[in-house]
């Protein structure tokens, strides 16, 4: 016996890839991380512009629990507050209780619940919302939002677009909100599904942006990360992952952990047709317009949802309300989210034109906001989140159970085709890799 053990290849140096690689490395399993980009952290990176505004790409914060697990607590600042509002016909409702204080929404929601048990499971997201929230709340708020978010009609979306809520009674939500008030910390509320939420788990912002989280993980993997090394193919023989092709060279591997979006993974895999159903899975592209303004507190809350169909956007985030350090004093930044398709007019529009389009819409939300405008920067991502279409729901459930190729595992937000947030990505990846590492 030669004693040579081919390494495990990890595709992608984002949070999930680095967590998986570190865990394997700690167990003495040889590992190589291939990253197509010039940096680790993928979508989690952010940067500070000349005027002192911080632009985050995707997630803004993590929890103190994740920070402690990574040993970076001392580099994190507490997020003081977090709240969401829904803007409907010029009126702001706090979410969720403000909406439920409105009699027509409350009555609809109660009526929707009557006799629910006897019915068969809902066939679509539209049906799910109507049953759970009542017709009015569903049609005026939930359905327009999920359609803008997904870019597909709610009748074509599977109910799984709504993640199962664990331990989310009204009393629990109220308790966490109260704890947030009492402690002056943004207690995580509806953010973590993998681990229980409690008054002791709140949002923190890592100093020097979220990219820092990944850099910390990468620090434990010195010499094992290949940057600017896109994986061109994953080679499968006899139903088993045997190698990866990088820069035209085939490398022998003992297993592959992929964080690539599953429709990309389907195209990377050679030597089997087993993954071809994944090729039609869709992710929603998104343009995130970071708009700079004078003033602070322009919006009713940190996140404002805008279900009105005549607005070009469906969500506006005023992150400096919860994290003042993201903008210089006396100024603020609104991040406006517009769902789009790669190559469509929004995707191809020049940044300033996109800014002008948003400004027009914002003027109806915050009259006079035009005078405060200082300019914008635009970030575009082709894979903001998965689109849960009914047409491939059966295949998605199969993916949840694991890929049909032995030694090939799909992990992380894109790899699992799941709308999971930072902390959940961490715990899910740990759990998954822990189970699999025993067999490696």
């Amino acid at each position: 016996m030669s004693g040579f053990r081919p390494p495990v290849a990890v595709v992608g140096a984002g949070l999930a890839g680095l967590v998986a690689a570190r865990m394997l490395h700690q167990r003495g399993i040889p590992v190589v991380v291939y990253e197509a980009g010039r940096h680790v952290a993928g979508l989690a990176r952010s940067f500070r512009d000349r005027d002192g505004f911080t632009h985050d790409f995707g997630a803004h914060f993590i929890t103190n629990r994740l920070a402690a697990a990574l040993g970076i607590g001392r580099y994190c600042r507490d997020v003081r507050r977090y709240g969401e509002a829904v803007l409907l016909r010029g009126k702001a409702y706090s979410y969720p209780f403000g909406l439920l204080r409105t009699p027509r929404f409350l009555l609809g929601a109660l009526a929707g619940r009557v006799g629910q048990r006897r019915r068969s499971p809902p066939a679509s997201a539209a049906e799910w919302y109507r049953r759970e929230y009542g017709t009015r709340l569903a049609e005026e708020v939930a359905i327009p939002l999920v359609e803008s978010w997904s870019g597909a009609p709610a009748t074509a979306l599977a109910p799984s677009v709504v993640p199962p809520q664990v331990d989310r009674g009204t009393a629990h939500v109220l308790r966490l909100k109260l704890a947030s008030r009492l402690t002056g910390r943004a207690v995580a509320n509806g953010y973590s599904r993998e681990k229980p939420e409690s008054p002791h788990v709140w949002h923190v912002y890592p100093e020097g942006s979220l990219g820092f989280v990944c850099e910390k993980l990468a620090g434990d993997l010195a010499g094992l990360i290949r940057l600017e090394s896109p994986v061109q193919a994953i080679l499968v023989e006899d139903g088993r992952a045997k190698g990866v092709r990088v820069a035209g060279q085939d490398q022998e591997v003992s297993a592959v952990f992929s964080t690539a979006p599953v429709h990309v993974l389907a195209k990377l895999v050679q030597g089997t047709q087993a993954l071809s159903p994944l090729a039609r899975f869709r992710y929603r592209p998104m343009a995130l317009i970071n708009m700079r303004f004078t003033g602070r507190g322009l919006l009713p809350d940190v996140v404002t949802w805008t279900p009105e169909r005549d607005l070009p956007f469906f969500r506006i985030t005023e992150a400096p309300l919860s994290m003042p350090w993201l903008a210089p004093e006396g100024k603020t930044m609104l991040t406006v989210d517009i769902g789009c398709e790669v190559g469509d007019p929004v995707w191809s529009m020049a940044d300033e034109a996109l800014g002008a389009l948003c400004l027009e819409g914002l003027e109806t939300v915050v009259p006079g906001i035009r005078r405060r405008y200082l300019g914008c920067g635009v970030l575009r991502t082709p894979v903001a989140h998965p689109v849960f279409l009914r047409e491939y729901e059966a295949e998605r459930l199969m993916l949840e159970a694991g890929l049909p190729v032995s030694g090939l595992h799909s992990i992380g937000r894109n790899g699992e085709f799941a709308h999971i947030l930072m902390e959940d990505v961490y715990w899910r990846t740990l759990r998954k890799v822990h189970q699999l590492a025993a067999a490696l």
């Binding site: 700690q26 103190n64 629990r65 402690a68 697990a69 009492l182 788990v201």
Partner: protein, 275 residues
């Protein structure tokens, strides 16, 4: 050998151990750790905490519970050399120790171990060894237990006193403020079952396991909560002023919890088997 009785004056609040540890403002090196019983890191997070005694420390810590055996440990944990040994003795221990020593008789040779350096004594020399608030602090509890075994004569007894992770006070303050965590000084925290398992691994027999009262744990946990939630200064001052009364209340609760087997301290008597 005589045993020095711990200071048992309960009327004043204890100071934080800031000056004796390196936690203060100095950054710690935190390293991944694993359950020393199972040699695995498959665990559930149970508490995120800070060094409440020296609130200037910016570090946060994660206590996790091993999915296999139930040991609660820090992961990541400070590098072994990071923390100076501390010699704090809880005030609830005095009576327990006196009772244990009384039973052994006047002629017994008893060693009271309060830190890992105290384990460096002649082998096979003691009738009894006391480990009070030691096992939760040491880098390697298994080695400490093995060293304890070697200090004992065959049939010698060891009394291990350590915070109890199945105590009511732990359950109430579990998520963050339980004084038993004492972030980051307590690396490993035990329930009866895990301690028994670790003792057997070290070649010691279990004679008895029971729980003892830890009145102070209630008051300290309340104080941790108040400090952490930045309650007004007068609230903390009031607690400090009425420390004695608060301890009495803690005693009353612990008296009841002890009867239920849920007291704040775990008292485990072990024996070195006769060869």
């Amino acid at each position: 050998m005589t045993v020095t009785a711990p200071d048992a004056s309960p009327s004043s609040p204890p100071e934080g151990n800031g000056p004796t540890s390196s936690v203060g403002g100095v950054p710690l090196v935190l390293l991944p750790s694993r359950c020393f019983v199972c040699n695995d890191d498959d665990a559930e997070p149970v508490a995120v905490g800070q060094d409440f005694d020296c609130s200037s420390s910016p570090e946060t810590f994660l206590a996790v519970r091993c999915r296999r055996c139930g040991l609660v440990y820090l992961n990541p944990a400070p590098a072994p050399s990071e923390l100076e040994p501390t010699h704090l003795l809880g005030r609830d221990l005095g009576r327990e120790i006196a009772r244990f020593c009384q039973r052994l008789g006047d002629s017994a040779r008893i060693l009271h171990v309060r830190g890992v350096e105290d384990l460096d004594h002649p082998r096979n020399a003691y009738d009894a060894v006391l480990l009070t608030n030691v096992l939760e602090r040491v880098d390697d509890p298994l080695s400490a237990l093995k060293a304890t075994k070697q200090l004992l004569q065959p049939d010698g007894l060891a009394l291990i006193i350590t915070p109890n992770t199945e105590a009511t006070v732990c359950r109430v303050f579990q998520g963050r403020h339980w004084s038993g965590y004492n972030f980051p000084r307590h690396r490993n925290l035990f329930c009866a079952q895990v301690l028994g398992q670790a003792a057997r691994m070290a070649g010691l027999e279990i004679v008895s396991v029971r729980t003892g009262g830890a009145a102070e744990a209630w008051v300290l946990s309340v104080r941790n909560t108040m400090t952490d939630w930045r309650l007004p200064h007068w609230a903390l001052a009031t607690l400090n002023r009425t420390w004695g009364a608060a301890l009495m209340a803690g005693k009353a609760i612990e008296w009841w919890q002890q009867l239920r087997g849920k007291g704040g301290l775990l008292l485990t008597t072990l024996r070195r088997p006769a060869e």
